[in-house]
């Protein structure tokens, strides 16, 4: 029995408190995120540098995508953007493949009940550590260790061991790309490993026991049980890593000699940043930066909806369907019952 007070409370509508609790989030989000996004969209239709107030329509898009805009140097701008997009893809691919393979291998090893591994907790802590360090400092660390001349640690050590010429780790485009891939893998493999581990630990252990009894070796267990059941979390990792890859900024931007970032490491994020951050409003190219941002936004939206689709609660949807079906049946029955009565 509900008391009088309980009944009275049930009668009060608390909806207004709900709005009050979520209001700060939406106000701040609209002011600092939604409006800047719309503003970026508007800027992508406006001119660059001194002409930043002029409306140019799709000129910026046709410049950076096809090099056919009316502005001077449209072809060069297109080339730069295309190179940035290519670099983003190469750098992402080159760090994702080794990262996912290494993380998967480690996650399987760490969750294997048969393997006796001392210091598992310590390994996990150390392998996650690079992820916590400031990316700017990581770039500085690697620049100071892998400098191009014989005055830097790695080259000096290699020459001590008998190498003749110092390796150009930073100035050479291919080496620099490999270095950035290595640093990105170094930063992220621990994080991916822990995510995959928690995914594997969510798999029912009796499946592995049954496979063991049936004589499946660890390779078979991995390909027939672990991998198929890990698919949702793998898709999630893939998509978040792709979106993260589109944002790759700190390491490619800071891994350079001297004062300017390396052109051969320029990613889309660096391209956007460089274009809107060139000094004052009259010197910056907000139009190109805006158009590139909107292109990235479109790519992200597609990738995001894939995860959203993959991760939706399949059980809940199935249950909903079942409930509706049951309701229908019940109603039909009632109708029949009504008729027979």
């Amino acid at each position: 029995m509900a008391s009088a007070a309980q009944r009275r409370i049930k009668a009060i509508s608390y909806a207004k408190y709900g709005y009050m609790f979520i209001a700060p989030f939406f106000l701040v989000y609209c002011f600092f995120q939604v409006w800047p996004l719309i503003y970026t969209f508007i800027l992508s239709f406006k001119g660059n540098q001194a002409a930043n107030a002029d409306w140019v329509g799709f000129d910026n898009y046709s410049t950076i995508l096809f090099g056919r805009g009316s502005a001077a140097g449209a072809a060069a701008t297109h080339e730069e953007f295309a190179r940035a997009l290519g670099n983003t893809f190469i750098l992402w691919f080159g760090n994702f493949i080794p990262q996912i393979l290494l993380s998967l291998l480690l996650a399987v090893w760490f969750t294997d009940a048969k393997v006796k591994l001392p210091g598992k907790g310590f390994f996990k802590i150390v392998m996650y550590m690079p992820n916590i360090i400031t990316a700017a400092s990581v770039a500085a660390l690697y620049v100071n260790l892998f400098g191009d001349s014989k005055y830097y640690f790695i080259n000096a050590t290699l020459m001590k061991l008998g190498m003749a010429e110092p390796i150009q780790f930073i100035a050479d485009p291919t080496n620099a790309k490999i270095m950035v891939m290595f640093i990105q893998t170094w930063l992220w493999f621990g994080n991916t490993m822990i995510m995959l581990m928690s995914g594997i630990m969510g798999i029912n252990p009796s499946l592995f026991e049954a496979a063991d009894i049936d004589g499946a070796n660890s390779g078979q267990q991995f390909f027939k049980i672990t991998l198929p059941l890990l698919q949702p979390i793998m898709v999630y990792t893939l998509v978040t890593s792709m979106i993260g890859g589109l944002q790759m900024f700190d390491i490619p931007y800071l891994f350079h000699n001297g004062a300017q970032f390396s052109k051969h490491l320029e990613t889309v994020a660096v391209y956007i940043y460089y274009n809107f951050n060139k000094g004052t409003v009259e010197q910056a190219s907000y139009g190109y930066a805006g158009a590139a941002s909107i292109i990235i936004f479109a790519i992200t939206a597609v990738l995001g909806s894939i995860t959203f689709y993959m991760n939706r609660d399949k059980d809940a949807i199935a249950k909903k369907k079942q409930r509706k079906k049951a309701e229908k049946q019940y109603k039909a029955k009632m109708k029949q019952g009504g008729l027979t009565l």
Partner: protein, 309 residues
């Protein structure tokens, strides 16, 4: 085909195989651990050598004795009889990498953002789980949908907007947006759904407790585990955020640790390698120490983030 050939000898070398496998895995793990730790060790070692020594012999594996001198150069605290070139180096480094100022600025930004993020995210999550209202599910769907939008996408408009509001060289555009953290809200909503009984809210209503007081005195203490995990991640993310800070903070006095590191990296003359290494060490050390103290929570938090998906 006999059973025996199918399944092999019973228990043949089973133990030896397991031990061999474990040993191999252990070796790989040790190698990876070294790859993670050695760069940092070398960094710390090299920051204890002076420039003269490092130019003659850059590959050092053990500590030197010049840490104090490097530190004095960095703090621009040289003896009067120091050479002119060294004084030039010291001024350059001190202007770009003012350690105390950098730590202070980074602490202010990371501290304030962390407080705002966890408090307002808990509040939004509470509003979404406890109350039923028309736009509830629409609001939640919106939060999930915007969770993955990268910062880069709106940053051009953001900076232009901040220029027009005269908020460049101000901490406000770095701190206030922390109120809106969709990913943190998502985490907290799933935490509340699993471990926050709504009967408690009703009980406190019957006892005459106001809605905000219920949130502050009952909900927040019950959500402590989720808040702690998210606070650590928010702090680290904001301490490390180079992208946004670098586009808003142009004034040298407001520079944070990542900005200072990038400035040191951009020097092309008067470079002192020992001080260079010391700068990077000083930028890494606090976060690494905090990490090793809190590592258990952090690893558990990362794993939790994986499970929920």
């Amino acid at each position: 085909m006999s059973l025996k050939s199918d399944y092999g000898q019973p228990k043949d070398n089973y133990h030896a195989k397991i031990i061999a496998k474990s040993a191999c895995i252990f070796a790989v793990c040790v190698i990876l651990t070294l790859i993670c730790l050695v760069p940092i060790y070398i960094l710390i070692v090299n920051s204890t050598h002076d420039h003269m020594h490092l130019s003659a012999n850059p590959s050092n594996f053990w500590f030197g004795s010049s840490l104090g001198n490097n530190f004095k150069t960095l703090m621009n605290n040289l003896p009067d009889d120091a050479s002119k070139s060294l004084k030039r180096v010291a001024t350059q480094y001190h202007n770009a990498f003012n350690v105390g100022q950098g730590y202070f600025n980074s602490l202010i930004i990371a501290g304030c953002t962390t407080l705002l993020t966890v408090f307002f995210s808990a509040m939004t999550a509470y509003g979404l789980t406890v109350y039923e209202f028309k736009l509830n599910s629409a609001a939640y769907t919106f939060i999930i949908a915007v969770m993955m939008i990268p910062v880069q996408v709106s940053s051009a408009g953001f900076v232009r907007f901040m220029y027009s509001l005269h908020l460049i060289n101000n901490f406000i555009p770095l701190i206030v947006p922390a109120i809106a953290a969709p990913a943190v809200i998502f985490f907290m909503v799933s935490y509340m759904k699993s471990s926050f009984p709504l009967d408690i809210v009703e009980a406190s209503r019957i006892d005459g407790c106001g809605e905000f007081r219920t949130f502050l005195t009952i909900a927040i203490p019950m959500m402590k585990p989720a808040i702690a995990v998210q606070a650590i991640f928010a702090f680290v993310a904001n301490w490390n955020n180079y992208y946004t800070q670098n586009m808003i903070l142009k004034n040298e006095k407001l520079a944070t640790v990542p900005i200072m590191v990038s400035k040191v990296l951009a020097f092309d003359k008067n470079i002192d390698n020992g001080v260079n290494f010391l700068c990077v060490t000083l930028s890494i050390l606090p976060i690494v120490i905090v990490y090793f103290i809190l590592s258990k929570f952090i690893i558990a938090g990362v794993a939790l983030g994986g499970v929920k998906e």
